[in-house]
Symmetry: D2
Subunit: 143 residues, 4 copies
């Protein structure tokens, strides 16, 4: 069901080793995450209008195979079961041959404009339920 996000490697993303600089994968994770939430009906700007800010708590990347200029990288995003506070997303990035080039994950919390944690379940139940559903769908798409 879920469409996969695609990123084409840009020339400015390469480094003098001739491959994609590793810092860009962190940015692609954000691109894919924005797309993932948008397709689920919860685009970032809607969340920000609702007064929800979502800082990144952690990121981790395991680089498997280098990618190069003009490569198309496909990024599958899935969500771990959501328990109300931290959202954990996983990313599998594959190249044109279907080989995994990078496995990654990120964690996110939800704050209000004053910087305090938001209790999504109470204050934003529709978004809370959406995150529960995303995790359920994710458990399928990973299989």
């Amino acid at each position: 069901m879920r469409e996969i996000y695609e990123h084409k490697v840009q020339y400015y993303e390469t480094d003098k080793m001739g491959i994609t600089h590793h810092s860009n994968y962190i940015r692609w994770m954000e691109e894919a995450r924005v797309d993932f939430l948008e397709k689920a009906g919860w685009p970032f700007d809607k969340l920000e209008e609702m007064g929800i800010v979502s800082p990144v708590v952690s990121t981790a990347c395991r680089y498997k195979i280098p990618t190069r200029f003009a490569d198309t990288v496909r990024i599958l995003v899935t969500a771990d079961p959501f328990k109300g506070v931290k959202l954990k997303l996983r990313y599998i990035m594959t190249n044109a041959e279907g080989k995994t080039v990078c496995e990654a994950e990120s964690e996110h919390c939800f704050l209000n404009r004053e910087g305090f944690p938001v209790r999504l379940r109470k204050e934003f139940p529709a978004f809370y339920n959406a995150l529960i559903s995303l995790a359920e769908e994710s458990s399928c798409s990973r299989k």
Copy 2:
């Protein structure tokens, strides 16, 4: 009199040609500009606290000699005579041998938080006078 800003080329600023990617010079101009205004007693955060936002109106770069990883680039910033609306800055970037690697310029306007042009002369005379002085000093440092 004026100290010259220095930037050391980072690995992540290189591209697959083995040289610094040209987009980074635009960022170094900002680094040097922030440093230039800070040394003149007008750091960006002070301006933003005063309610002045200063968007970039234009940039131009002429790339003369490539720079490479670990090179130290020296950036001399000078200001054109200021007439109250647009600030025009010029940048001369040199390498360790003193050769010019890039000549550049940028233009800036001054807006209030609502996005309307600020009449610096009336509303912020101290900053206005500082910009006049910077241009005068600049005409010396260019000689």
Copy 3:
């Protein structure tokens, strides 16, 4: 005839002013340029395989209207008449309302792997003729 390149503004391309950081337009110019040459049958990797390296000689940007996160920016690329040495490209970037957000230009030269200028007309006549044609098509798409 010519398809227009589209770039969606990413979260990581914004700055604390809440708008797209001005340095990113230089990168989008490259994205659009790569796409422009690819659609014309001369992708960058083909040129590099042929032994042609094409450094950027100059860039210039006039920023008209800020763009923001999740905006789609359309970029029309056109080529000035090519006389054999420098390729000059022009970029018109428009937002969803069709308003011009940025006008820009870039100049490029063509070197061999040893870093010496290539005489395209003699050494790579097919590519030379392609650049002549691109300028002719461009003069139409600008009207």
Copy 4:
């Protein structure tokens, strides 16, 4: 004994949340790593001249406290005990108040120009011994 690397947050490193975009910490890790190896007598360009390429195998970041434009971030780099294949580095980033803003780590392998793993102990014993020593010094500087 070890000097600590300092990075001043640039305007172009902020995002529309008003804080440093999280992807930049990955780049600062590289800045600090390059500095760390340079101070140990093994600058990146020397390694590349020796024919050693060192791709990043993994990165991980835990973001603790946001940093902002013009903040100075101090980065302490330490090395885990080196056993001959993978180099694991740890980074503790602190702000002006001495509070930890980010904890991170990265892993690196060593390849020759053909892309095959280098046996440092046999082929480059001086560099191998340097990595052993760095880990020993690190175990002190962490205390």
